[in-house]
Symmetry: C2
Subunit: 220 residues, 2 copies
């Protein structure tokens, strides 16, 4: 957790530090991301950083937490309207993918979380997020089963894991690939994002759902 001093900082400064740090952690994996680099680019002294955060890991986990929260709140908005399983999942997938493309930095920060320092306290954080998401999907599936939308003869836990691997970075990667662009190039050239219209995202998600729907759906 940041020290109190950090929260006393003028908004502008605080934001600048977080922005620079986020950019660094999005660009490099944890062990290669450089504090010296961050403070230089943020225009503050090395020592100041240690007035705000305990250490590198403290800064990183804070950033990671912010990123996760933002994505969560973005995606959760899709859950307002109660509809059937497939529509809900389709919306979640679309929202997740949109978010990853609109905030590529945040997505990258989360993806880079896998670079654990030795054995991982950070890995734990990442697993926690994965765990929560999978559990949520599992719940969705069970509900869908009760309602008769989902066929009853599949292992919900396993199916939830499959769903998770889809909602992650996968689809975003595919979309970028259709543009012939890597994540790094995408991060460096923000204007590319204009080529990825919501319609295009929607299309891909619908295609995926076409496949999944008949896989999950209860036999009529």
């Amino acid at each position: 957790m940041p020290k109190p001093t950090f929260f006393n900082l003028p908004e502008e400064k605080r934001k600048r530090i977080l922005d620079v740090a986020m950019d660094e952690f999005a660009t490099y994996p944890y062990s290669k991301a450089s504090l010296s680099n961050i403070v230089a680019r943020a225009g503050i002294a090395k020592g100041s950083m240690y007035q705000y955060f305990d250490d590198k890991k403290d800064l990183y986990t804070y950033i990671l937490d912010l990123a996760a929260q933002e994505k969560m709140s973005y995606v959760k908005r899709e859950l307002d309207q109660k509809t059937d399983f497939f529509t809900t999942f389709e919306r979640l997938m679309a929202a997740g993918t949109r978010f990853n493309l609109e905030h590529p930095q945040l997505g990258q920060v989360v993806a880079n979380a896998l670079d654990v320092p030795g054995e991982g306290l950070l890995h734990e954080l990442y697993s926690k997020g994965r765990e929560m998401t999978i559990e949520f999907f599992e719940h969705m599936l069970k509900e869908g089963m009760e309602k008769g939308e989902i066929r009853g003869n599949i292992d919900p836990r396993l199916a939830a894991t499959l769903m998770y691997s889809l909602v992650g970075q996968g689809l975003a990667d595919y979309l970028l690939e259709t543009l012939g662009v890597t994540m790094h190039e995408y991060l460096a050239n923000p204007e590319i994002s204009q080529k990825l219209t919501p319609e295009r995202i929607e299309y891909v998600v619908t295609e995926v759902m076409k496949i999944l729907r008949s896989g999950f759906e209860a036999q009529k």
Copy 2:
């Protein structure tokens, strides 16, 4: 590429170096893996390492290449018998998962390949592998479509990408999770692998196929 000297080395020594290096690169992400550590554990001098390899990256790419080749040849064995799309894919998935669990180090080395040094030559290597695999799946799908096994109204490229995200680490992770074990713990305690019987792997793969089959299959 290793220097000629490396290939002149006695088999035993060469193997020892590769083993230690592989273990290091499986344990730590590229930027944290330490040459000094490797040479110490392999019982050779730092300088010797530079008689064998140009630099750290040279050693790493060589290891990565070996890992990829081994996995390839392991998985490709499943392709001997010509059968239908679903059986083939099921076998591939099972083989891939089995391999990941039998050689967790190799799998980890590949997974750690994502930790690119800055912007990535290594990433390129990783993408190449991904690309090849996806193209292979795409080919499989198209063939299945022609034979009428796969319905014709899905985007083969997209479907291939989905398949890829499944064959990767995903299933292995799921299996470990059912044992309440992380990859790191699994690497540290090889005896755990005995709990993962081929039957258990087969079961999970079959479950996944149950879902996918009706998703991909041509309407009868």
